[in-house]
């Protein structure tokens, strides 16, 4: 009897042990690190010094601003696109559904680095995009060397990568909306668009919230795209919090400071998620 009681713990033990080593330990140790400073090869306690420095660090504020700008523009575009795609692909009339679903989802399984490098090649001054533009008589666009277009490039790349992922989440949720609702609405004379806004969107609300929170966290940790496409340039115009954490730690050797930035991001994510829950007004 006692054996059977202990047994389940044996099964979860590997997962728990790995979780402790690779998740709990780094969380605690980076929290401690965020209050420390390297002096002559040794870490010494520095109190709130790292956090104070953060407040006066113009690069941090630029990174925060950029991250939010990308977040405010990219996340809504992506969520709306994903929702429209999902309801289109859910339609009874569409043929080859499987093919389209897989096609739109494929970007989500490509490696972050590989796709960033591909975009970088296509966005060169004489890359695919500009060649196409020039063929139709438009001026080439300085995709990666102009502060505005560099941000646009990153938003474009991210939308390509993540729309399919969110679409699949919405597709799954759409399967759960009862046909009765649409039927009843049809009887009352509601058109396609009305049905979308009055049935689909409200029914999807918890899922939209879920997708929005995931995207929020994802955007705040944004790293691969700016690292590979622009390295944060030109002149910090695509510097993001994730990239700044990496640079502070691995390029400038300031791991304490990097941890302080990381913890600030955690707090921001927590606050944003809380607001999203409140705004979405969960009834439960």
């Amino acid at each position: 009897m006692t054996h059977t009681k202990r047994f389940p713990y044996l099964f979860i033990a590997p997962a728990v042990i790995l979780f402790c080593i690779f998740t709990v330990y780094p969380i605690i140790s980076s929290f401690i690190l965020s209050f420390q400073e390297m002096e002559g090869g040794q870490y010494v306690f520095a109190g709130l010094e790292n956090y104070k420095r953060l407040l006066n660090d113009s690069i941090f504020w630029t990174a925060l601003k950029n991250t939010f700008l990308i977040f405010i523009i990219q996340v809504p575009i992506m969520i709306i696109l994903a929702m429209v795609l999902a309801s289109t692909l859910n339609s009874q009339l569409l043929k080859l559904k499987g093919f389209f679903r897989v096609s739109f989802f494929l970007p989500a399984v490509t490696s972050l680095v590989a796709y960033s490098i591909l975009f970088k090649i296509m966005l060169q001054e004489e890359g695919l995009f500009n060649n196409l533009f020039m063929m139709v008589g438009m001026d080439p666009i300085p995709w990666l060397s102009d502060p505005f277009w560099a941000k646009a490039s990153i938003i474009m790349a991210m939308t390509w990568r993540w729309t399919g992922y969110n679409m699949v989440i919405f597709l799954a949720a759409l399967q759960n909306i009862s046909e009765d609702l649409y039927e009843a609405a049809s009887l009352d004379g509601a058109g396609k668009i009305r049905k979308f806004f009055y049935i689909t969107v409200p029914q999807l609300k918890p899922v939209i919230l879920f997708a929005a929170i995931l995207s929020t966290i994802g955007t705040l940790q944004l790293f691969d795209e700016p690292y590979n496409l622009t390295e944060g340039g030109p002149a910090d115009s695509t510097m993001t919090l994730g990239l700044y954490i990496y640079q502070s730690g691995f390029e400038y050797f300031e791991f304490g400071y990097a941890s302080a930035i990381a913890y600030t991001v955690v707090i921001i994510v927590a606050i944003l998620s809380f607001i999203q829950f409140k705004v979405a007004g969960d009834d439960k």
């Binding site: 044996l10 090869g41 113009s58 060169q124 001054e125 002149a235 910090d236």
Partner: protein, 427 residues
């Protein structure tokens, strides 16, 4: 039965985990090899690997108990792993690591105990065999911590075919002003750009021009020097190049190289190591190339500078420092090894090697120009500059200032701002 099955899975899982961890811990430390010899490990990248392996084989012939395992990695991977290992107190590190010139001071300042003190081990005797700029770079508090290896004496690589078409002679390009004028002529006559630059992402040209004038991001006392006259002059030339419309925007390494090999741009001021990349990627352009020294800021001024170059260090955490030292001393100071390095595309900084005939030979790829003689002659004139431990942060600010300047911010304002930010960041 179920229980038994569960137990088996659990035990198997634990075993796998155990195997993983013992594997990874063994990787860095010098383990016993099959023959029972103590094996040393080195991290290096790219064309350095075959050179190191070849030298190790030769060394092994006379020292039968020596064995070197060279682990090949990308340059940035070496730094990431090195940083992480040092951060973890010297865990999982090899015995020998390759470190570039501009990165060295950053490591030695952040991790003062990271590298073995070579002066204590007797390397000072060999000091005179290397140019001052290298030995000074590797010195902290009077002791040397690295073995000087390859250098990056600079030159302007140019396409003879484009120069001929435009009727420009490289001998007439003596100053940067001449360079810009020649660029305008080339643009007029051939429609091609003079130079490929990544003005928003890299400041290689600016760094070369600073070194050429004997200064750097920081002055010899370590004070921020971005707003110095030398820095302003370098930025002015950069801006003039851009404003003259003779710069092709090449973002990243590959576009820059292919602009050269495909004949879209006429020149590339760079370190001697560029030889390796253009001969590999532009095989069908043999005979179309030439090199001349960097233009001076005023006629008769210094035309020697440096870009890039690397050094070997021994990790303090290694338990076979003596052995590693013996091998690296052999590697750094043996002409034979350095000639091999040279043939592999790495320009040696060991000055006893320059008498070798390889330095006097005509290079077919460069239309039989004696390019190595030119580079070797430069080595003694390369000014020693102070990279300091804050190199990476300073470079970040310099690139940003450059980006702002070519986009219209006045030079003075951009540089003063960069000084202010940099001082803040390096307090």
């Amino acid at each position: 039965m179920k229980k038994l099955f569960g137990m088996i899975i659990f035990v198997a899982f634990v075993l796998v985990l155990g195997a993983c961890s013992s594997d990874s811990s063994g990787e860095g430390d010098s383990g016993e090899s099959d023959s029972g010899k103590e094996e040393l490990t080195a991290w290096a990248w790219n064309i350095n690997v075959p050179v190191l392996e070849m030298a190790a084989e030769k060394f092994e012939e006379e020292n039968p108990d020596f064995k070197l395992n060279v682990v090949e990695m990308g340059t940035s991977d070496v730094y990431s792993k090195l940083t992480t290992g040092l951060q973890a107190g010297g865990k999982g590190l090899p015995d020998i690591v390759l470190v570039e010139d501009d990165r060295f001071q950053g490591y030695i300042n952040t991790f003062p105990d990271a590298f073995a003190n070579l002066s204590e081990m007797g390397f000072d005797e060999q000091k005179s065999k290397f140019p001052d700029y290298k030995t000074e770079l590797l010195t902290k508090d009077g002791a040397m911590y690295g073995f000087p290896f390859d250098g990056g004496p600079t030159g302007v690589f140019y396409r003879r075919d484009i120069f001929n078409e435009a009727g420009v002679t490289p001998e007439d390009i003596k100053t940067w002003d001449d360079f810009i004028e020649a660029g305008k002529t080339i643009k007029d006559k051939t429609g091609k750009d003079m130079i490929g630059l990544d003005l928003n992402g890299d400041d290689g040209l600016y760094r070369m021009m600073l070194t050429q004038q004997g200064t750097f991001y920081f002055d010899d006392e370590g004070e921020v020097n971005l707003a110095s006259d030398e820095s302003k002059k370098a930025m002015e030339i950069t801006k003039e190049l851009k404003d003259a419309g003779i710069v092709k925007n090449t973002v990243g390494w590959d576009p820059w190289i292919s602009a050269m090999t495909e004949g879209d741009v006429a020149t590339a001021p760079s370190g001697a190591w560029l030889y390796g990349s253009i001969t590999q990627q532009g095989k069908d352009t043999s005979g179309k190339w030439g090199v001349f020294k960097l233009p001076a800021f005023e006629e008769g001024g210094n035309r020697a500078s440096n870009l890039g170059g690397s050094n070997y260090v021994i990790m303090s955490a290694s338990d076979q420092k003596e052995k590693a030292y013996d091998f690296m001393e052999y590697f750094s100071t043996t002409n034979e090894v350095q000639v091999e390095a040279m043939e592999g595309g790495l320009f040696p900084s060991l000055n006893t090697v320059y008498d070798n005939e390889i330095f006097k030979q005509e290079v077919e790829f460069f239309d039989n120009q004696k390019i190595w003689e030119m580079f070797a002659g430069e080595m003694e004139n390369i000014p020693a500059v102070n990279y300091t431990g804050d190199y990476a942060v300073a470079k970040d600010e310099a690139v940003k200032a450059q980006s702002k300047i070519v986009n219209g911010t006045p030079i003075e304002e951009a540089l003063e701002n960069a000084v202010k930010t940099l001082k803040n960041r390096t307090q």
